[in-house]
Symmetry: C2
Subunit: 300 residues, 2 copies
């Protein structure tokens, strides 16, 4: 079995494992699967959960696409080579409870016919209401895994996430960040197999982190005002994904499967003109924490 | 009084007239005004109406901005000159009733210190449910005004709107189109004053067209399913504005007043995974009509 097929098989297992874990957490809804094929080569398994106990809408997508490098890819991705291969798992979860966070994960592998390859990925969290201690535990989980691979990983990938998941026109981060990496190749003691193992371990960590956030959340009741704020924060999520997210932009411009790409958008979002939280409210505190370079370990 | 000041004064009157007309139509809510100033020079009057009888959320913005041409403007707008001046009125209305349409208008004037000037603008309509006869009457109103200026205007500007208000990744138009024009200078028998008069007349036509659509709508009751469809269509509107609209993109990237730029986004929008209308439903008929090059005059 070639390396790339081995990787995509492991990514499929990651998708299976995550869907099972999230269904066990939700206890009501299950994932519905759509299989799709890409005209130029490859396809994917889109899995969507809706109207659950925990999840209002969530997607866990696997894809494996390949074929000739198009002109669009050359200009957008600056690729050197004729044929590409890409496989990955992408997740976005939008919970019902305003005190549960939106969480996103992506792990991906890219290979060119000239032998060049790299890994990319990350996990980041967007609480509607930031709970400092819960955010710190989320970061601790990521740091612990990163540290078993390379001492550079957490500090580098945490900063990368701060800079990537940022909404310049709002001057705020999308959430409390997490880790983000791209173009990762063998480095120091880490071989290709180690980087694959890192991606797979990240995949397995994802449902653990989400379950932890749900367990840390003591609030099972909320008001219309909390829902309004949740929907406004989701609006910001839409702004980031449609205006800045490179994966979304690339998908829209290269005619990927639109419904799979835009599964990241919430069931309900809201734009309230010039919404200003009250002084000293939890909403205001959340805004004050949507900044780069927060040292979350200090909040443990 | 210099020409540009005369134009901005007339645009302010257009804003006043439109707000008064829409308040008279709504009969419940009134516009709230925010005055803002631009750091580099100029400012605006943002007026927002919310929670009305007719309007769930609507904005009627006037702005007049000027100053040195920045590097960003040079690269984005390909401007030749050192100082620019721009003034305009922008409107987006999101009604409550799913059978009332979203309607947008913009009229704008641009001038460089080297004497180059142009007008731009347009009106387009995005019904949640397309009513062919009502859409035809909307186009007829635009055509009648265009025809009093130049026989090229309606056919050229109608095609321009079809191409501009288009969502490539959905392969659908934003709505039933209307007219769109840019870089309009004196042409044939039309002098600068005529083009200004055309912009002002478009501004006065806007509330007439909106009122006509409300009057043509016989349906004052609707179901949750109609609201779901309305919110899904609003989601498409968000996609167009955040991904493709040049004015929005430019505003976000040049740090304009974000709340004024994004007043175009609806109070509530929805993304339902892979939403497919039922066969032979009004929703399916609407989708079938979101195409370029529909000859609306044939539906009168």
């Amino acid at each position: 079995m070639s390396t790339k097929i081995k990787i995509s098989e492991q990514f499929k297992e990651v998708q299976d494992h995550i869907c099972q874990s999230l269904e066990a957490l939700d206890k009501k809804s299950t994932f519905q699967e759509d299989l799709w094929q890409r005209e130029g080569g490859g396809g994917g398994r889109t899995r969507i959960i809706t109207d659950g106990n925990i999840f209002e809408k969530g997607g866990v997508n696997f894809s494996e696409v390949y074929g000739p490098v198009t002109e669009m890819m050359k200009s957008q991705l600056k690729l050197d080579g004729n044929e590409f291969y890409a496989t990955g798992v992408s997740i976005v979860l939008h919970p019902k409870n305003p005190f549960h966070p939106i969480m996103h994960m992506n792990v991906r592998y890219f290979e060119m016919d000239n032998g060049v390859y790299w890994f990319g990925g990350g996990i980041d969290m967007t609480p509607h209401y930031v709970n400092k201690s819960a955010a710190a535990k989320f970061h601790k989980g990521l740091k612990d895994l990163c540290d078993t691979y390379h001492s550079d990983f957490y500090p580098e990938f945490k900063t990368w996430a701060d800079n990537y998941f940022f909404i310049p026109h709002r001057d705020e981060t999308r959430g409390v960040g997490g880790i983000f990496y791209d173009h990762l190749k063998s480095k120091d003691h880490l071989e290709k197999d180690d980087l694959l193992r890192f991606a797979i371990e990240l995949g397995h960590l994802f449902p653990v982190l989400y379950t932890q956030q749900v367990e840390l959340c003591a609030t099972s009741e909320w008001t219309d005002e909390h829902e309004t704020w949740r929907n406004v924060r989701r609006g910001r999520y839409v702004e980031f994904n449609l205006v800045y997210d490179r994966g979304t932009q690339f998908g829209l411009k290269t005619a990927g499967r639109i419904e799979s790409i835009l599964m990241s958008l919430p069931q309900h979002a809201s734009w309230v003109y010039n919404f200003q939280p009250e002084k000293n409210s939890p909403e205001e505190e959340t805004l004050s924490l949507l900044k780069k370079d927060v040292d979350w370990m200090a909040h443990l």
